[in-house]
């Protein structure tokens, strides 16, 4: 492997730099290889990336302009008709509204709890590793398993939650069968599952805040309350914003718990974006319309992710 190129070796590092110049004479064939080498290295990645990421993105938008369903098995160009169909379908708006509500339930609650727990865990206390493990483990288990666990806990009559609810004098509630409450039951499961993960991200953010700032604040006589709002919170804000965006994106990707716990019901009260796409594509076989909805979701998520990436950059500069 004699592909060292001139100029790469700093002259001061070598007593006889001239000798190196002779050694590293590059043959034309090697030169071609050294130009091609980086492209050969990235080829496997870009081969798969193109087939399963780039092409499907473009193709989804392409398909979204065709009528292609059971009634029209041969696809037919219809322009923006599928998007107009979404616009005029009440269910589409309900799905959007459900998902926005779901995000509004998930994000502030998860953020506040995750930040609170991260602050507590960040204290130098005994048993820290145990607390951290117990709070984090739901991240490790599949959402499908979490769905099973909560199906059982939320079940009417025999469920644990209703039992302790009755104990407190509440009526028996059929959480997942109630058109108002079902969505909040899914929020509960989502928070339970994701809390530990976001806590750990906050913890990473807290650990890069320089200790001397707190020391200075203590010397100045700042109370813990002030130290939080004047030091911790501002320095943590890029993390907070990043986590918030990630949590919103997460809530637009939620599908497993919808599929397994409610099937979108009762009466579409918990029908969220991905489930709606799934229904249209793989139950009603309306690939054109489902592609249009995918395209809309793609644009929503892209906007949010671009925001998150800009924040991430800012965060990296901070640290």
């Amino acid at each position: 492997m004699n592909q060292t190129v001139e100029g790469k070796v700093p002259a001061h590092a070598l007593p006889g730099a001239g000798a190196v110049g002779i050694r590293v004479q590059v043959k034309p064939r090697n030169r071609l290889l050294s130009i091609a080498r980086p492209y050969l290295y990235i080829l496997p990645t870009f081969f798969f990336l193109f087939i399963f990421t780039h092409y499907p993105i473009l193709k989804t938008f392409h398909l979204s302009m065709f009528k292609w369903n059971l009634a029209t098995p041969k696809r037919e160009f219809v322009g923006l008709a599928n998007y107009l169909q979404a616009w005029s379908t009440p269910l589409f708006w309900q799905v959007l509204q459900n998902n926005v509500l779901f995000a509004l339930g998930m994000v502030p609650l998860t953020l506040a709890l995750a930040l609170g727990l991260a602050l507590l865990i960040n204290q130098k206390i005994r048993g820290l590793a145990i607390y951290r493990a117990l709070l984090f483990y739901p991240t490790m288990i599949p959402m499908a398993a979490a769905a099973m666990i909560w199906l059982w806990i939320l079940t009417p009559n025999y469920g644990l939650l209703n039992y302790y609810g009755r104990w407190l004098g509440l009526p028996d509630i059929h959480w997942l069968g109630h058109s108002r409450l079902a969505l909040w039951a899914l929020v509960l499961v989502g928070v339970w599952k994701r809390l530990g993960y976001y806590m750990v991200i906050f913890l990473a953010g807290l650990q890069v805040i320089p200790e001397h700032l707190y020391e200075a604040a203590i010397i100045e006589g700042a109370s813990p309350w002030h130290r939080f709002w004047r030091v911790t919170f501002p320095l943590l804000s890029p993390t907070t914003f990043f986590v918030a965006i990630m949590a919103v994106i997460d809530s637009f990707q939620a599908i497993d718990q919808v599929y397994l716990m409610t099937g979108g019901g009762p009466g579409n009260a918990t029908n969220l974006f991905i489930f709606y796409i799934y229904q249209n594509a793989f139950r009603f076989f309306d690939f054109g319309y489902a592609s249009a909805v995918s395209g809309i979701l793609f644009l929503i998520l892209l906007t949010l992710t671009v925001l998150a990436f800009r924040m991430l950059h800012r965060r990296v500069h901070y640290a």
Binding site: M1, Q3, T4, K8, V20, I35, R37, P38, Y41, I42, T45, F46, F47, F48, L49, F52, H54, Y55, P56, L63, L120, I121, K124, I125, G127, Y137, P138, T139, M140, P142, M143, A144, A145, M148, I149, W150, L151, W152, T155, Y158, L160, Y163, V200, L203, I218, P224, V243, I249, F252, I255, Y259, I274, I277, F287, S294, L297, F298, L301, T305, V306
Partner: protein, 276 residues
Amino acid sequence: MHSRPLWRLAVHSLLLVAALVMVLPLLWIVLTAFKERNEVFSLVPQWLPARPTFNNFLGVLDAMPFWRYYWNTLVVAFGLLTIQLVTITLAAYAFARMEFWGRDVLFILLLVQLMIAPQSTVIQNYLTLSGLGLLDTRLGIMAPYLASAFGTFLLRQTFKSIPKELEEAASLDGCGGFRFLAHIAVPLAVPGYLAFALVSLTYHWNEFFWPLVITETSKARTLTLGLGIFAQTAEGSADWTMLMAATLMVIAVPVMCFLIFQRRFINSFMQSGLGG
């Protein structure tokens, strides 16, 4: 301030409450899994099983092709990881340590994978795999993830931190190019590989939606999906003890691994936050 006993007591009690809320659901399903079928139909729940039994676990093995699902999951998770390690190593090394025309644009094209939800390309990927004849196969479940922007991103950071002088010295000793990558860069990046491996294995062990779309029979189905499908059969939906036993069997190994290597897992997931 932090050392005041009262303050410590408050911190401990808050954390204890939070930890209990997280752990009680797990404890409840573990105990349910050992109960007899009709024991759970009581308006006043009993935490401890009256007559602990293993029958639910044996019942699960009869009611679904559990070991088949297990094998599929192992093949998908570890097979995928193996291929990913090759693709991300080569790409990360090129992006970290080589100059080439179009590098920055290509890197952004790579990051596109992090920016989109895999769920929003499900329809087209389904059609592609159908065209390739890979529906209902384990390879089909792995296909969309063979290239990993997250893994490439993570390793690139590690490779970048290897000093140039080391590469120059090695290259003068005849250990340049690919040999430098194999013998020096890769061993130095072991922590990065470990972090990636844990996140990738967890993600694909747990994945539900894509295997749901791509499989039709139990031939290629993974554990998580098998659990979901079992829950919707007559047997699974009528018998809570058996369903909880199945859930426990699905999560037992990952949870055990997590408890043993918890620090490593948590650090890996911390890094995954940086990669999205």
